[in-house]
Symmetry: C2
Subunit: 367 residues, 2 copies
Amino acid sequence: MDRRIREHAETLVDWSARIESGEDVVLSVAEGAHDLAVAVAEALGERGANVVTTYASEEISRAYLHAHEDDFETPEHELALYEHADSVLFLGGGRNTFATADVDGEIRQAAARAKQPIKEARMGTDWVSTVHPTRSLAQQAGMSYEAYQDFVYDAILRDWESLAEEMAQLKEILDDGSEVRLVSERTDLRMSIEGRIAVNSAASVAYDSHNLPSGEVFTAPAETEGEVVFDVPMTISGARVRDVWLRFEGGEVADFSAEAGEETLADLLDTDEGARRLGELGIGMNRGIDRVTDNILFDEKMGDTVHLALGRAYDACLPEGEVGNDSAVHVDLITDVSENSRLEIDGETVQRDGRFRWEDGFESGDR
Amino acid sequence: MDRRIREHAETLVDWSARIESGEDVVLSVAEGAHDLAVAVAEALGERGANVVTTYASEEISRAYLHAHEDDFETPEHELALYEHADSVLFLGGGRNTFATADVDGEIRQAAARAKQPIKEARMGTDWVSTVHPTRSLAQQAGMSYEAYQDFVYDAILRDWESLAEEMAQLKEILDDGSEVRLVSERTDLRMSIEGRIAVNSAASVAYDSHNLPSGEVFTAPAETEGEVVFDVPMTISGARVRDVWLRFEGGEVADFSAEAGEETLADLLDTDEGARRLGELGIGMNRGIDRVTDNILFDEKMGDTVHLALGRAYDACLPEGEVGNDSAVHVDLITDVSENSRLEIDGETVQRDGRFRWEDGFESGDR
């Protein structure tokens, strides 16, 4: 077994999920994640945890959903499983990113509605999502299998403790700040973050962070004004979207365009009222991720990028009693900030051309 | 998809497990059983059942058991899952029949003891075990993959309704009978079946039968006297065993030999007191199974064979209040009855040279 698979498993079990002896763990294994599951089972055995292994096969889901009529119930046995679980480890990594492409959207949504109590029970556990590098994901990323494996492990096998400490500095600045300004060649955007709480997403349940890899600090902005261009290409609802431009007035998208996928963008903005407002400002700080791979788990954490999400805000960013932006969607759009750009908080430059102010090579540019 | 995979799935869901709309089903999928699982999921979707898919990977079990110390607990979440399940469908078919060969026996037993309540909860459901033909099982059978697939589907895709009716005739004779005598070239064995209940094992929970394929009628004998030779080769505890000869006196094995595996046989007989007595007399009636494949799920149901098991008797064969033979083991030994042999019940020949008395070509041989 590749030594890195074992390291991935140990990072997941110890750093991310903090599994302890006697815990009841559900291990969810995608079709292509068998090898990682073997390594995770070994780590869980060593820690003395109890394990139920579920098979998250998209081909099985597709066959079931195709055949089922639209009268789904909440499966009581599945609910009982998750209500009695302490942790859920999702090992992603399929064999075909389009495995469920021909499942009717309404059937999919009806099934998801019936499973909502199960989703809530799962979200009530110490859950973590990660991904095993598969040929299918390499293909999606436009990479060879070998190169993709290197990419994934560079993203996952970080010194998370030290990254968490670095990200804590940015969290503190955001927590104390009132206004964020993002400036680059075609971007000049202002957002209020007054009273909002930033999440130091350090790939561990101990930091309210449920993705491995992670490596971003995010908060919930409001009252957005100005223009922004997202130059990192994305796939949204199956369509390629490139060079999205948005102009905000009074917190809402007042005008927009895109080099590719403009119709998809228009549909997205029309979803509901909240889809025209921002739900998230995230700052990618994982420099192990150095390229776009068309997988949001990785893309949004890429070092030297900033992402803004249209739609729903995360509760973790809102002080008690405050209601954030609400929407059925949450779609991240990403912009490269490694050159000709700066991030200001209350008029002070915190990041310029990808360098944070606590890093060597940072130039504040203040006159 | 091979049409036969879909037929297998439909036989499992409709004939064997009798799944109905709204039932909570656990679908347990071995490493090599993915394709059958897709077909079963489709059938379950059509019936409107609810499904949790678990991954029964022997490589994952091995890794977990290897790493775990001997202090297993009963996983509460797993228990909750099966206590809320109506049916469990076990889709066997691994990728290596020796996948767990290097797991310590004591660790395996300690884990099994901790999981006993889960096993009981599973056995309390409408459970069915079947197998998807894999290359590993073809190899164990000494067959090509293509030929093994034909073999498996010949065994599984039967007219079960008509076989159940045929087997009902033998059940009636056994239920009414007092003494069974098995005679062939080197065999002359008498057993009491007075008051015992035969099971018409027709591969359906409706017949108290939990294997697909099945196709045997079995009961619990007592007071065995005489000699018997088992000429069908077997693997017992990993050892090849051939031409076992047993002599019974007063219901117990008084002498024994084997052409191969005699030590394994001796160890088996020494397990406990019940291991020297018979727990089962079974009559194989599935003529779709026409060869030995070193897999007891198939071998013991082979048409024109009789098997006797050393060890534990099944409760289903015992009238209320009666205690059958008890033992930690239940090991089937099989003998070919297609030539020079007869099965008598209370002095009347019921089967001669593989023909039952209700079949064409049957010669009673009564003088």
